[in-house]
Symmetry: C2
Subunit: 333 residues, 2 copies
């Protein structure tokens, strides 16, 4: 568990996109983002107060989160200077970078000397169990996709926010690095050992109140040959009561697989539901989440209307038009 | 790659069953098994020549394979004495034990001093790629199961033996620890990091002659919630042209999951085929392999006849009645 609130480290981000982890935290957990730390040459801005390390500590920040991708996979000396000073100032560090904080001897030494934690969310820190398939109390909703990177995390986050706004009990459950940094914990599923994948998701979504919903972040796609095994571990480990099928309509082929066309919404609905019902016979597909960011509004609305007419279930772009329809469908279950 | 042939270490095996890895090697790769090494109190016997380390070296043995499960998860001092002597005699060591050879400082030190290899097939030694889904030349057949431990490895081994006996090009591709020790290489899939599972199977079954068949050992089941993700990685990474559905008819529930009944043969046929056709639209289910070890012969034959009548495809117990029908179906593809 990463201590909150955070000071967001934007470093020397060349542009706003390079700081998309910080953007995600600011968009989805604004209460966790007390301020931003920018180095000379930083071209990203979260619209948060610029703070020195000392100011952020005084304001209550506990962890410096690296909210920016580093260039060339190396933690630069310029960054190091700030990271070391942050440890000395009393911050823990958290990072989703491929090159791990723990592999930097100087950071490890300073963290030890100062009694601070280094959180590398890229890799698991827990010894997960093998899944036992036992029915758990509480409810779970899983986002499944036609492809990778179609908006499964945003769908779960939008629905979670809506649920909370209605006073319903909901927890977003992160299964990827960005989601973990947004919420402070979760399972980095793509880095878990094969035998323990489903067990890690059981661990992530334990028994809960009968009216509590876990909104589980999806990964990959049952139709993406590189990562489908990860997706099926989510479908079986998550034991979902509800599935939301996520899709991005303008994509020409599966991400990273030029020879593979996307499956239809019907395909994903049928295959995901069949497999989900192995773990939970009561599971239902409750609607469709369409990522319309590359479509003008009229086209987007027409597409959603067509999906609803064709498939007989609610369809929305929850980030653009709100998640109400999907949450209504969950509540009606 | 583990150097062959082997001297099979039976240690102080309390009974024949404790030496089932050695039994598998002796049954399936008799040419690799030059002799056996038994300690005082050993109650297992492979019917091979008992050899001293020096005799086995003189006969050409290159690797001492631990063919027996150790008691209590500890490599005893009595075993160590033999293992150290074997390294000094010029043997490599190979083991599928949970406690790794490489975690024993004395074995590591002696192996280094003697320039010998320690092979722990429990864990991967290769940095596998992420799957790219590109169509490969050659043919592949994958055993899929209604459950874990229903005979998928034996099915692939039986078919591989039959193919070779007919002069056809075939390779058994091991994906589990016992299979790896039988053949000398393979992928310990259950220990691979999630993101690389499908890629490890692409790596295991590379481009080959157009008329060459990889007989891929299956793992888990698409319907076993603990391990289904591993299975789907095989279905997509293996890119199979043919599926054989494996089943054990007397099982009361899924292995290790008392609340879960087994899927029907029809269920596995349909779901596995639908998913396999994502990676290879030409894939077909070619038959059923039924593990009838717990059925009298008349009952077994009646069961097989019923499966054939009901599902319209060949069904056999390849270990008991031969794999001919399945190999005929492969050849006819």
């Amino acid at each position: 568990m990463i201590q909150t609130p955070y000071l967001l480290f934007l470093g020397d981000a060349p542009d706003q996109l390079a700081a998309k982890v910080a953007q995600g935290i600011k968009d989805w957990r604004p209460d966790n983002a007390i301020g931003q730390f920018r180095m000379e040459g930083c071209n990203a801005d979260m619209g948060l107060a610029d703070m020195s390390l000392a100011e952020a500590r005084a304001a209550g920040a506990k962890t410096l989160v690296i909210g920016v991708a580093n260039r060339g996979g190396v933690i630069s000396q310029a960054w190091k200077k700030v990271l070391v000073a942050a440890l000395e100032e009393g911050f823990d560090l958290a990072s989703g970078l491929h090159n791990l904080l723990r592999d930097e001897p100087d950071l490890v030494a300073v963290a030890q000397a100062c009694g601070r934690q280094l959180h590398d969310v890229r890799v698991p820190s827990v010894q997960y169990p093998i899944a036992n398939g036992v029915k758990r109390s509480g409810k779970r909703c899983l986002a499944v996709g036609t492809d990778c990177s179609v908006g499964k995390m945003y769908t779960a986050l939008c629905m979670d926010r809506d649920m909370k706004a209605r006073g319903l009990k909901s927890s977003f459950r992160a299964t990827g690095q960005t989601g973990i940094l947004i919420t402070g914990d979760g399972v980095p599923l793509d880095a878990v050992i094969a035998d323990f994948m489903a067990g890690s998701i059981e661990w992530l979504t334990p028994d809960n109140d009968p009216d509590h919903w876990d909104m589980i972040e999806g990964q990959g796609s049952l139709f993406h040959v590189s990562y489908s095994g990860v997706t099926l571990a989510l479908v079986h480990g998550g034991q979902p009561d509800a599935l939301v099928v996520c899709h991005e309509p303008t994509r020409a082929h599966m991400r990273g697989l030029p020879g593979y066309t996307l499956p239809s919404l019907e395909d994903v609905r049928d295959v995901a539901l069949r497999l989900a019902q192995v773990a939970n016979p009561a599971c239902q597909v409750i609607g469709f989440s369409i990522n319309t960011q590359h479509m003008p509004e009229a086209e987007a609305r027409a597409y959603l209307a067509d999906v609803e007419a064709r498939l007989g279930l609610p369809a929305t772009d929850p980030f653009r038009f709100g998640a109400d329809k999907l949450v209504d469908a969950l509540v009606a279950l």
